[in-house]
């Protein structure tokens, strides 16, 4: 069961990610990203991170991506135009990312030799209670700092998005 | 040209004093006063009536086609003073064009467009003189007396 679910949603994530990169229209890209996020949230569930999986759905795909779609629709951004290429990135980009990928995979397989096999339900430390407990004890300071960050971000967004008074 | 009775009316006396050449004639029928105005002075007359005699409303602008006569069109203005509760009708005979009253009463806009559309009278100085009732590509002016009631044979497909 684990294998089936992992393979299926892993493939969905990869296809979605590729589609995000190659689709020309921002709306298509945004929806591809949503599918990646939904697939990832299922993978989170498999890894026993229940709360994070739900947060992924609520925060990422339910709020952030809705905002993206909203902005794309509001601007009625059309399909991307072919334009002059950025030279260096164009020629070195693909090889370099390939190298990065290979290197990362190598490091992972080498260094994580003692890795567990993932079994759904084996790890249950990711429920809302555990996450909440960790957040409000060990990580209280970072949590508060993040809330201030959000506050600042809201203020910044409001200032930026306000229409110029002319 | 104006009868004594009409000249006793303050409004008309004032108008004649201010614009002596404007008023060509006047008549009272069914308690309604009609003044015939020199077409060239229509805007000045309307402005005087609005700003000095408190005729704050232009009720309607329309036209009457006296076909065989020349000039054939009578442009008719109905004014009302809300405060004084008086109505006044102005009439100007024109052949093809007259100055637009929209400078004085902006409400004349659609009425003049309608007259232009249905009679073909051109209002010079009108901000947006387009057809209002008939389609934009309509030929002819339906309310003219020489336009038959059943219309000319007309269809969108066959027009040249």
């Amino acid at each position: 069961m684990d294998v089936i679910l992992f393979t299926f949603f892993g493939l969905v994530a990869i296809v979605g990610a590729v589609s995000l990169v190659i689709q020309k229209h921002p709306i298509s890209s945004a929806l591809s990203l949503v599918s990646v996020m939904v697939a990832l949230s299922v993978l989170f569930l498999l890894l026993g991170a229940e709360f994070i999986a739900a947060a992924q759905l609520v925060v990422y795909s339910g709020a952030i991506m809705v905002l993206f779609v909203f902005v794309i629709m509001l601007l009625n951004a059309g399909a991307e135009r072919e334009s002059r290429k950025a030279g260096l990135a164009q020629f070195l980009g693909l090889p370099l990312t390939a190298v990065l990928l290979v290197f990362a995979s190598y490091v992972i397989t080498q260094s994580m030799s003692n890795a567990k096999a993932v079994k759904f339900g084996a790890f249950t430390g990711g429920g809302p209670r555990e996450v909440g407990w960790a957040l409000f004890t060990q990580y209280l300071l970072p949590f508060e700092v993040t809330s201030i960050l959000i506050l600042v971000a809201i203020a910044g967004a409001v200032v930026l998005a306000r229409k110029e008074i002319d | 040209m104006l009868s004594e009775a009409l000249l006793e009316n303050e409004t008309i006396a004032g108008l004649v004093a201010a614009h002596p050449t404007a008023v060509l004639g006047g008549v009272t029928q069914f308690d309604e006063i009609t003044l015939t105005i020199e077409p060239g002075e229509i805007v000045a007359t309307l402005a005087y009536l609005k700003y000095h005699q408190k005729f704050d409303r232009l009720s309607t602008v329309t036209a009457v086609d006296r076909y065989p006569l020349d000039p054939r069109f009578e442009i008719v203005y109905h004014l009302q003073s809300v405060g004084r509760n008086v109505r006044l009708r102005l009439r100007a005979s024109v052949a093809t064009e007259i100055a637009s009253a929209t400078i004085v009463y902006s409400g004349a806009n659609w009425y003049e467009r309608e007259v232009f559309d249905l009679f073909g009278v051109v209002f010079t100085g009108h901000p947006n003189l387009e057809r209002i009732m008939m389609p934009d590509d309509w030929k002819g002016h339906p309310l003219r007396r020489d336009f038959p009631t059943h219309g000319f044979k007309y269809s969108y497909g066959e027009q040249q």
Partner: protein, 402 residues
């Protein structure tokens, strides 16, 4: 709609984005076939351009081809929600040209019917206006009462909408037996129904938020553009032809002209509801003081004889034949008759050249003038406000386009 949906427009200040939205001619809240071309910036209307003429039926042209008495049926179709006001206005104009004296009973009946028409028209307005704002139950409530009125009109004239009941020289028929009972039943019933509407709307915070302070322009601007009727009365000007130039013995009735100074959509609503109550008062007075007598003027050359007389008297038959085939000759002259229709100042400018057909019949219709003010009322407002304002103007496109 097949072109790209957003048009970019470069304004002087920089790049602002506007969208052109075609509201109508088929749109749920343009009440018929009005088309308003809106230029939108987000939800805000930057520019509005009403386009009319989709219901242009050429009534004014047809009038020139028909006999004087045949035109009555056309006037019904001008403002189909206030047909009797149009009948009345035209009849009064022609009667003025003819110098006809109308018997008192006919005059009182005319007042009664005109006021019932006003109530009926306001009911349609209230229902559709509330429906536009999303309060759809109102629509069914007002149409329930309107149905009673429709039954009454049908009883009196045989028609629900195009009654053509008011004719040159009086009324088409004597009112049938038993109609008083119907009117009295309506009179007894209706005040509580108005209370019902008010309980549903007056205390509704959403309704108040949607209507208060919306659609305000200066009184001078309204006069200038040609807005009349309840809209301008809600701006504080008691412009009402029934009081200013009484016709059909309105001067003998005791009624008030409701006004308000708030000048917003809510004020227009309040004024119209108050008008319904005033109209009820007039109807009550007309019912109580209805004079006895004929309902048609005694002018055998101009008014069709009674059916019974026509069948028994040779002379009456001849006049009937002559009136029907040749029409009536109306003396030369011109007249501008104004009545207060439910929507505002309704004026018929009738010119006769002495023949059996009019030279010109021009209708100064309230909807035309009111609609002309629409851009000023809705520009720099939101779409939702435009809906509220359009509802508050209460235009009828038949009335506007003729």
């Amino acid at each position: 709609m097949s072109e790209t949906i957003v048009e970019h427009q470069e304004s002087e200040a920089g790049t602002t984005r506007r969208m052109t939205l075609n509201m109508g001619p088929q749109h749920p809240s343009t009440h018929g076939v009005l088309r308003v071309v809106l230029e939108l910036d987000g939800e805000f209307i930057q520019k509005a351009r009403p386009e009319i003429g989709y219901l242009h039926t050429g009534i004014e042209k047809q009038c020139e081809a028909l006999n004087w008495q045949q035109i009555i049926t056309l006037t019904d179709r001008v403002d189909y929600l206030a047909n009797l006001s149009n009948n009345l206005c035209y009849s009064l104009a022609v009667e003025k040209l003819l110098g006809l004296e109308i018997p008192p009973k006919a005059q009182w009946m005319r007042v009664l019917l005109a006021e019932l028409t006003r109530i009926g028209s306001h009911l349609v307005w209230l229902g559709t206006h509330a429906l536009d704002m999303g309060a759809m139950t109102m629509f069914f409530l007002t149409f329930r009462e309107r149905e009673e009125l429709m039954k009454l009109f049908e009883m009196i004239s045989g028609q629900r909408l195009m009654t053509s009941y008011i004719r040159i020289g009086g009324l088409a028929l004597d009112p049938p037996r038993g109609w008083e009972k119907l009117v009295r039943a309506f009179l007894a019933d209706f005040p509580s129904k108005i209370d019902e509407y008010e309980t549903l709307l007056n205390n509704n915070p959403i309704w108040l938020r949607r209507t208060k302070g919306i659609g305000v322009i200066s009184v001078e601007s309204m006069l200038d553009v040609g807005i009349t009727g309840p809209v301008i009365r809600a701006a504080g000007i008691p412009l009402d032809a029934r009081k200013m130039t009484p016709y059909s013995s309105y001067e003998k009735f005791d009624f008030a002209v409701p006004t308000s100074t708030d000048n917003d959509v809510y004020a227009r609503y309040a004024v119209r509801v108050a008008e319904m109550r005033e109209s009820l008062k007039i109807v009550q007075q007309a019912m109580d003081g209805m004079p006895e007598g004929p309902t048609r003027a005694d002018a055998h050359r101009l008014v069709l004889p009674e059916r019974e007389k026509m069948k028994t008297q040779m002379e009456a038959l001849i006049y009937h034949f002559k009136i029907v085939t040749e029409g009536i000759a109306v003396p030369e002259g011109e007249v501008f008759q104004v009545v207060e229709s439910p929507r505002g100042e309704l004026g018929y400018y009738v010119v006769s050249d002495g023949t059996a057909k009019p030279l010109r019949v021009h209708m100064r219709t309230p909807s035309f003038g009111n609609l002309q003010g629409l851009p000023r009322l809705i520009e720099n407002r939101q779409i939702a406000d435009a809906i509220a304002v359009m509802g508050s103007l209460d235009f009828v496109l038949g009335d506007c386009d003729r």
